[in-house]
Symmetry: C2
Subunit: 560 residues, 2 copies
Amino acid sequence: MKETKMECDSSNKTKKIYLFGKMHPIKVGMRKVELTDTIEDGKRRENGCVLLYDTSGVLTDENEKVDIKKGLPRLREEWIKQREDIERLSEFSSKYRNEISKKGISNENYFPLENLPYKAKKGKAITQMAMAKQGIITPEMEYVSIRENLSLQETSYITPEFVRQEVASGRAVIPSNINHPESEPMIIGSKFMVKINTNIGNSSLSSDIEKEVEKSLSSCLWGGDTLMDLSTGKDIHQTREWIIRNSPVPIGTVPIYQALEKVNGKAEELNWEIYRDTLIEQCEQGVDYFTIHAGLLKEHLPLINKRLTGIVSRGGSIMAKWMKENNKENFLYTHFEDICQILSNYDVAVSLGDGLRPGSIFDANDEAQFGELDTLGQLTLIAWQNNVQVIIEGPGHVPLNKIKENMDRQREKCFSAPFYTLGPITTDISPGYDHISSAIGAALIGWYGTAMLCYVTPKEHLSLPNKEDVRNGIMAYKIAAHAADLAKGHPAAMIRDNALSKARYEFRWIDQFNLSIDPQRAREYFGNNNSHGTPYCTMCGPNFCAMRISREVSNKGKIE
Amino acid sequence: MKETKMECDSSNKTKKIYLFGKMHPIKVGMRKVELTDTIEDGKRRENGCVLLYDTSGVLTDENEKVDIKKGLPRLREEWIKQREDIERLSEFSSKYRNEISKKGISNENYFPLENLPYKAKKGKAITQMAMAKQGIITPEMEYVSIRENLSLQETSYITPEFVRQEVASGRAVIPSNINHPESEPMIIGSKFMVKINTNIGNSSLSSDIEKEVEKSLSSCLWGGDTLMDLSTGKDIHQTREWIIRNSPVPIGTVPIYQALEKVNGKAEELNWEIYRDTLIEQCEQGVDYFTIHAGLLKEHLPLINKRLTGIVSRGGSIMAKWMKENNKENFLYTHFEDICQILSNYDVAVSLGDGLRPGSIFDANDEAQFGELDTLGQLTLIAWQNNVQVIIEGPGHVPLNKIKENMDRQREKCFSAPFYTLGPITTDISPGYDHISSAIGAALIGWYGTAMLCYVTPKEHLSLPNKEDVRNGIMAYKIAAHAADLAKGHPAAMIRDNALSKARYEFRWIDQFNLSIDPQRAREYFGNNNSHGTPYCTMCGPNFCAMRISREVSNKGKIE
């Protein structure tokens, strides 16, 4: 696998910069866009710079050399090492993982380095939530406060103390497994920028490790805030290892997928021991959050019969089958306290899965969906008692007029734990364009308060996405998230729009490209347009350029 | 130019059908999707059919032969001929048009046939609005009632009488120039399906007639409800002639563009006589609605100086320049009554342009925008007094949280005349993806009550769209409009979603494709997927197919 670097603009006007912490020895990466000067009536005026939120880590730092076989620099390891409540183990705790070690690195697919895991010392509460409750501002908290402010000046909106309060209350989550020190801290909560998650993963029918790692790197370069590895095919553990070691963003998984592979796809043969070992395996590997379908109960199963499209969550359907075949309550529910105790040792967050999310407009906001949501609320309190950070997963397919009810109900029933929704898709009739039908719902629910949006690609419902599909999915969701930030009034959001629009009104094309969500695409569409540098563009030509004429009739000067 | 036919699905399960009128001898085209049978537990059950709204006219009728050089069949001509209040002229009334006739058909770009124009007899009020006010249900009104019901059964929701009432009150518009008899009646109003408009048009810098006609045909095939020809280059009249003669949907224009060409691009030299002659030229050619920027007044000009992006409407900027250079009130405003009298002779609707629509998030909902909107309300009453049908144009760039105010204010100030918005785009930072950022705003404002959405393509702000951009723009807007219809509770909307989702849950792939907004794209993305016909798909593979497992745990049978 070869090195991956983000294409920089030829004008060298955008670059990676770092802002430094005051409480902790931390440096926070950002993308700085230097704006070109306005030349109006012959006078030159500077436009300064704009800082952009940057999810790409050292992948875009020209002073760092990225070797995928070595993984990214272990940014947070020093912070973790210095903590007295954390220790490094001398071996892995999972049976499955130890068997892999015994076999040795025999396969070219195997990631060549092995790091022994960190774990909480016995009886120590080490999670970000535990620290926050104790009044401690961790390096992670200071990091996200700088990251969210997006300013060279000190601002009073998102202070480290504000971050601490949000994490302590459970209203925000900083996914940060102590075994994923390569990740840059980020925060998920309704008072912060809306984040987007991307999914990758091979299935038994297609894809390979190299392609998945490439997609994961692209996701970070294009702006994905977190990444879920939903692999279900062979080499799940190894695919994940490559991805985690090279990921500057938090990684999520659905552990039941791997557990199911371990019982050869027979859902009814799943059991707590296998699941538990899988959790520990993944905790020690560095997964930052787990989707766990613990809220789908036996009592909900009859409600499925009233539906048009039954269960459309993979994890949900697996647990439903397990309950039916074994005639027992969901073991993820009965063992939820055990699960929390495991997760709390590594600071893995739980993302409570919505196994009964509606898969069609017809099923939206039904008894099954809301019944499960009530259970997720109960589980939230159990997780918080164990200092485990919690996210709540949400729909699915929901028409525009039923979206707000989802948000309001989630906030009430789950005590303002961050909501993390899949879209929602606002119509069923758009296969091939579901990134758009779902970005509509995502923008709306983001504005209403959802903290993270799980992207959908154009291939949803049809097949697995390729790299270009990942790009289109990400861009649709970056737009939805940013539209929501503007509407919520996030103080940093509008700076970028204003700078781009001022550049547009002054025909500063380079600045428009650099400030846009996908500079490469904008430049490509602009093309070999002769108007580069002239005060009109190919859309309308000189006589019909509204902005050119508008400048003439207003008190603005002449742009050169 | 060669024949254009919509690609039919290989299974022959979708076809053009016609429903017949009861009051008038009319036939209304629709797309009928025959659903395949469900085979569950070995038993076969029929799923019937779904009717889809169809904007393609005879282009998809396999019994009709389309010859672009002859134009489409003149569907409405018999209806018009039978009216005693309308006469056929023996020559064109516009000087410019008569000069073209004098020169003869000398150029290969010239459309080969010439039809003399229809016009109201002196003193006769012939518009759909005039008829509706008199209690007359026209063939056009019965047509749209059948078209909107989308049902083989009689339904009580959208009756011809209901259509008449909506048109009489001005809450809905049926654009239907008597000189565009090729067009199929359609209705624009908040109680009907949300419609989408597409824009095409060459500029002085690119494009040619053939390409524009091809794009216009594609627009109708893909689902555009109306089409605006925004050409500004040479051969404007002829480009338009080809488009109108081959268009089954209403055509809109911005007459000031052609008027400006007639004064060689010098806005200050525009005058009422040239504009008036252009209006008559286009009325007699068959344009169904005109965008007229009559609400932008001298008093609004100082407000532009407070803006970030000034005037971004081409027509608005032209009129602003004219007012400034001539130091006079907008002649479109001072001559508005004259304009209405001309339009009423042909039943051309007026689309009151928003010359001051915001071009950036910063400028949304400002004094300039709302000042002009108030004027548009006054003009609406004048138009209605003259029995001219009215649409009101709206923004532009608006953040999510300011969209509702636009709709509410428009409804109040313009007396519930249909609102027709450009997006709105919900962030400025998405060049290359503005079809998505604007589809978000469009869906929202459509749900709030906007009757027609003007599409935006991915090339917006960058260059002119090609055919694939037109497709992507249309699909984004078909989604926005349909999502709005679902949320508004249009009775026909959900039938399609439910049918598609039932097909999805039963792995009936052909039906999913045929019911989707772009069957060709869905099929292409599905690819040579082996799961065609098997009860799972390539996204998850058999062990992880939630729907397959869900069927097992519910009381549903086994799908074969």
